[in-house]
Amino acid sequence: MSQRTQENEEPRVGVFVCHCGGNISDVVDVEKVAKTISKDPRVKYATHFMFMCSDPGQNMVAEKIKELKLNRVIVAACSPKLHELTFRKVVAKSGLNPYFYEHVNIREQDSWVHSHEPEKATEKAIRLIEGAIERLTRQNPLKPGKKKTVPHALVIGGGVAGLTAALELARRDIPVTLVEKSPFLGGRVTQIDNIYPTGEDGKDLVDDLIQKVLKNDLITVRTNTEVVDASGSIGDYQVTLKITPRGVEEDVEGLDKAIEICPISVDNEFDYGTTKRKAIYKPYPKAVPNLPAIDWNTCTRCGECLKATNNKGINLNPEFKEDTIRVGAVVMATGFKPYEPLPGEYGYGEDPNVITLPQLIRIMENMDPNSKEFIYNGRKIKKIAFIHCVGSRQIEGVHTPKEGKELNTYCSRVCCSTTLWAANRLKKRFPDIHMFDLYRDIRTYQFYEDIYEEASRNNVVFVKFPDEEIPQVKIVKDDKGLFRIETTDILLRGKTVAVPADLVVLAVGIEPNPIRDLIEIFSIPYGSGGFLLEGHPKLRPVESSMEGIFLAGTAQAPMSIQETIIAATAAAGKAATILTKPEIELSPFVASVNLDKCEGTGRCVQECEYNAIELKEANGGKKAVIDPSLCAGCGACVPVCPNRAITLEGYDIDQILAQVEGMLKGVKAE
C-alpha cells in the first residue's frame, strides 16, 4: 500500500495527549499513553500537557512542527466537535495541509465512559491513537472546495424574534425575506397589553419594530406564507414557499361591515378562545397588514361579506400560489405557544372560571376600562388563585404527559414574573381583590425580583406546595367562593390548607410552536421539549449544528422578550458573518464517483438523504454525479454501491481498514 504524503515525504507524526485539566488524566495514564505511542517509528514526538487547547498548548504544536519537521499531527483530547477546528488552524498556520491533522476523542469516548476502569481506558486511548496514526499516514492532502454565497437571508417567523433578526440583517446591507405563517405580523407579543418590567403595550412595541421593517427596502415581508420545501445547503438554499391568499385584496369601503355580517363565529385564537371572531377577521384594529384576512378553514364562501363591500375588494375563490426563493442562510424564529392544559387538569375545562394566564391577560385587556368590579362569566371575582408550573417542571409519576408526548421537565422561565406582574396590575385596578399564589419556587430572577416584592406588598398570599403534589381544585360554590383548592403549604409547616377562589388562573408554560415539517425540511436537530438544539451552548449558542441555520428566540428555549431580542440580534450577527462573504469553504470530506466503475444503478441516489446525487448522462451512459456542495459526507452511498465506485474523500476504504487494524494490533481472536 503506497503512503501518500503532501510532498512525498516519509510521515513524521507528532502526538499530543491532553489532560483536559483532569477530565482525561484523572482516568487515563497520559504519560504511559505518550510513552507507548512514541515507540512507533513513525512517531517523532509524543507528549502530554494540561490543556492542549490553551495558547501554550497550541504554540507547542506549532513549535514542534517546525523544530522536528513533523508533517502529521494528532491531538488526543476532547470530542472533535469542540476543538478539531482549533488544531486544524494551528496545523495550517504552520504550513501543513490542515487535513494532515487527526483529532482523537479520548474524553467523551474514553475517560468519561470508562472512569471506573483506568487501566483499560489507558489501553483504549493507546489503541485509538494507533488507529489514527494508520489512517493519517494514508491521508491525501485534501483541498476544500468553495461555493458562492447567495447574499440573501430567509427569516421564518414574524414575531419579535423574526422582525428583529430581519431588521438587523438589513442594517448590514443583507436582503431578507421574512415569512409569517399567519396573516398578521407581530406574534405573541401583540397579545400582551402590558409587558413586564416596563409596562409597555406589546402592540406598540411590535408596531415600532414592524414600521422599521416595512420602511427598509432590503426586507420583503410575506404574510400567510409557509415554507413547504427546501433543497441545498449553507450558502445556497432553494426554498419553496406556499402563499395562502388573504382573500381581502384591496382596502375598500365596507370591510368593517363585512366582518360584522359574516355569519360564521369561531373561537378567537388572539384572545385564546375567550372571545369569538368571524371567518373574515382582523385580530386588533391596528394589526399589520391592516387588511382583514379570510380564514379558509372556517369560511363557507357564502358571499355575505361581498354584499357589504359591493362585491369589491374580496375574492372568495383566489389561487393558492407557490414561489421559490434562493437564500444563503435561514433564521428560525418560529416562536412558542402556551401549554394547553389537559381536560380536567386543575379543573380546566370543567368550569369556565378555570382559565390560563394568557387568557387572563386577554380578559384584562378586553375588560370595560370603567368597570370598578372584575366581573367574569357573570360572576364578581373577589378571590383569585394562581397555580404555577402548569405544564412546566413536570415530574415522572406525578404529572401526566400529553398523548404521544414526553413530560415538560423544563422550567418555562417567564411564567413566575408574568403571573405576579398580572397580580400586581389586578390589585391596582381592583384594590379589594384577594389573591393567592400557589407556587413551587418563585423564579423572579435578575431585576424581576421587584415584581415579587411588590406582590408581597400587595398582600398576595403565597402558598408553597411540594414538588410532588398537585393542588386539588374542587368546585364547591359555597359562600367563600366558587372553588376550594386543597394543598399542602410548606410555609405553614406542611399543614393542609384550603384556598378559596372565584377564578383559578393556571400559569401555563411555554412550548415550541409545532414545526415538525420545518425540522424535517431543513434537518434541524431538536432536544428536550421539542425546542431547537444549539450547536453547543457556549461555542455556538445561536447556531444549529446544521450549518447555515440560525436560532432566534423561543423556538430554542423559553425566553423573555428582552432575551429573545438579544438572541435574535446575535443570530443575525452570526448569519451576517457568512452572508457578507462572497464564498464559503466546503468540507473536503465529500463523496466522489469513479465514473469508470459506475454503472448507473441509482442505489446511491435512493440512499442519499441530502439529494446530493443525480443520474446524468456522462461517459456514454447514465452515471451518478455528486454535488459536493450538497454532500454532507455521511458516507451512506459508499457501501450500497455494488461496484465500489464511490469513495468518501478522507475516509476511503483502505484508510478505514488500516485504522481498524491499527486499533486491533496484537489482539488475538477469541
Binding site: C20, G21, N23, F51, C53, S54, D55, P56, H83, T86, E168, A170, R171, R172, D173, T198, E200, L205, L209, L214, T220, V221, R222, T223, P245, P289, R393, T409, Y410, C411, D441, R443, T444, Y445, Q446, F447, E449, I490, L491, R493, G494, F531, P537, K538, P541, V542, Q556, A557, P558, I561, Q562, I565, I566, T569, A570, A572, G573, K574, A576, T577
Partner: protein, 441 residues
C-alpha cells in the same frame, strides 16, 4: 492617534466574543483588559453548568483566538480613563499600568517567579487561596504568557532581574496614557462577587466560610489545593453547606435583586463535590431554587437524585466553633417549625453579582440607580444600547447573566456595533422617515 473601528472594554467571555465577532467580520478592534491576562471570571472556574464542560476548554481557545487574530489588538493592564465623543467618533484615553517586563523579550519561563522572595495572597486568579509572587506569569493558561511585576508588593530586591534569562525585567517602565480614536465602544466590564460584608455570616472572618468563586477554584483542575480541603486546617470536609442568596435578594447589603446564577453554580459545585467526596453530606439552604435556563431544571433534578440535600430556609446566622466547624442557624419548615442549628465543617456562601466597574467620570453613560449596573435605555427593544449613541453594553456589565447569556449578548453587541459602524443604526437613531412599502400578500 491610532484608529480603530471598535474599542472593547473588558477581556472576559463577553468582551472576547464581541471582539472575535467583529474581528471575523473584518473590523479592527482594540480590546482593553485591566488585568495582566484576558479570560475574565470564566477562566477561574472549574466546570460550567449545565453541561459540565470544563471552563478552560471553552475559554482558552477563545483567549488564544483573540491574541492571534489579525484584526484584534490586545492591550492588557489597560483600562479607559476617559471616553468622549469626537464628532461622529470617540476619543478614548487609555491608562496602561506598567508591566515592568518587556513583553517582547519575556518567554513566560517563570524563572522570575522562582527567584522572587515575596509571597502574597491576593484576590487574583486563586481568590486568595493560593500563594503567588510579586512577579510572575499570572496563571498557567494566562494570555499573554508574559510575566507581570506588581509594584504594590515588589521590594525591588532585583532577584528576578538577575534570574531572567532574557533580561526582560525593566524597572524603568512607567504607567502611561495613550489616546486612540474609535468608531464605537462596547462596555463588557463584567461583575464582582458581592463583598462578604454580611456580619451575620462572619463578615469574611471565618476561615472555613468560603465564597462561591473560592469553591470553584478548589474544584478546578488547576486548584491551588490540588483537591477538596477546607482552607482553615486542610481537613477533608465531610459536611458541606451552601448558603443561597448570601449576597442577593438582600436589601441590608444593597443588593435587592436576584443574581440569577447562584442557584445553578451552587448545584454545579454540589454535583462536583458529590463526585469528589462521595461520602460527604452536602446541603443547600435556599429560599427559592431558580433553575430557569435551558437544561437547568433537569440539572437540579439530577442533583436531588444524587443525594444533595435541599433545605428550604434562609440562613440567619453562622457561628464559628473552636475546632473551625460552623454552626448554621436556619428557620426550617419542618412540622414543628423550629429554628434549628446544624453543624458543618465547610460553608460556601453563594454570593451574588455586583458591577465591577463604574463609568462615572470616565464615560457619560447612565447607570441604574438601584442596581448600579449600566442602564439599558431600551431594555425591551434594544437591550445592548446605553444612554450614549454608539456605546453598547455586553455581558454582566448590564446585569446578572450566566455564561451562555453573556456570550450571546457579546455577539448581539458586536452586531449592533457593526451596524453603527456602517451608519445604518445611526440613521435609525436619527430616524429618516421613508415611505412605508406594501407587504407582499
Amino acid at each position: 492617534m491610532e484608529k480603530f473601528d471598535a474599542v472593547i472594554v473588558g477581556g472576559g467571555i463577553a468582551g472576547m466574543q464581541a471582539a472575535l465577532d467583529l474581528g471575523d467580520q473584518g473590523y479592527k478592534v482594540l480590546l482593553l483588559e485591566k488585568q495582566a491576562s484576558i479570560g475574565g471570571t470564566m477562566i477561574q472556574l472549574s466546570k460550567v453548568f449545565p453541561t459540565l464542560d470544563c471552563a478552560s476548554c471553552i475559554t482558552t481557545p477563545k483567549m488564544s483566538a483573540v491574541s492571534s487574530h489579525e484584526n484584534i489588538t490586545l492591550w492588557t493592564l489597560a483600562e479607559p480613563k476617559k471616553i468622549e465623543p469626537n464628532g461622529d467618533r470617540f476619543k478614548v484615553t487609555v491608562f496602561q499600568k506598567a508591566r515592568y517586563v518587556n513583553e517582547k523579550d519575556c518567554t513566560g519561563c517563570g524563572e522570575c517567579e522562582q527567584a522572587c522572595p515575596v509571597i502574597i495572597y491576593d484576590d487574583g486568579y486563586d481568590e486568595s487561596l493560593g500563594p503567588t509572587k510579586a512577579v510572575g506569569v499570572p496563571f498557567a493558561t494566562a494570555m499573554p504568557q508574559k510575566a507581570v511585576l506588581h509594584d504594590d508588593y515588589c521590594i525591588f530586591c532585583g532577584k528576578c532581574a538577575r534570574a531572567c534569562p532574557t533580561d526582560a525585567i525593566d524597572f524603568t517602565q512607567r504607567d502611561k496614557e495613550i489616546e486612540v480614536d474609535a468608531g464605537t465602544v462596547i462596555l463588557a466590564t463584567g461583575f464582582l462577587q458581592t463583598p462578604t460584608i454580611k456580619e451575620e455570616y462572619g463578615g469574611g472572618r471565618f476561615k472555613n466560610v468560603i465564597t462561591g468563586k473560592q469553591m470553584d477554584r478548589i474544584l478546578a483542575p488547576t486548584s491551588p489545593f490540588g483537591g477538596v480541603y477546607r482552607p482553615g486546617d486542610g481537613k477533608i470536609p465531610d459536611s458541606i453547606a451552601f448558603v443561597q442568596c448570601a449576597g442577593s435578594r438582600d436589601k441590608s447589603i444593597g443588593v435587592p435583586y436576584c443574581s440569577a446564577v447562584c442557584c445553578m453554580y451552587a448545584i454545579k459545585q454540589a454535583t462536583l463535590l458529590s463526585a469528589a467526596l462521595p461520602l460527604a453530606d452536602i446541603t443547600i439552604y435556599y429560599m427559592d431554587i431558580r433553575t430557569f435556563g435551558k437544561g437547568h431544571e433537569e440539572f437540579y433534578e439530577q442533583a436531588k437524585a444524587m443525594g444533595v440535600n435541599f433545605v428550604r430556609g434562609k440562613v440567619a446566622k453562622i457561628k464559628e466553633k473552636e475546632d473551625g466547624n460552623l454552626i448554621v442557624r436556619v428557620e426550617t419548615f419542618g412540622e414543628d417549625g423550629r429554628i434549628e442549628e446544624f453543624e458543618h465543617d465547610l460553608v460556601v456562601l453563594s454570593l451574588g453579582l455586583v458591577p465591577q466597574w463604574y463609568p462615572k467620570g470616565i464615560v457619560n453613560v447612565d447607570i441604574d440607580e438601584t442596581t448600579k449596573f449600566i442602564k439599558l435605555i431600551k431594555p425591551m427593544t434594544d437591550p445592548t444600547l446605553t444612554s450614549m449613541p454608539g456605546i453598547f453594553v455586553a455581558g454582566t456589565a448590564g446585569g446578572p447573566k450566566d455564561i451562555v447569556e453573556s456570550i450571546i449578548s457579546g455577539s448581539a453587541a458586536a452586531m449592533k456595533a457593526a451596524e453603527w459602524l456602517n451608519g445604518k443604526l445611526r440613521d435609525a437613531f436619527f430616524a429618516k422617515e421613508l415611505d412605508v412599502k406594501q407587504v407582499t400578500n
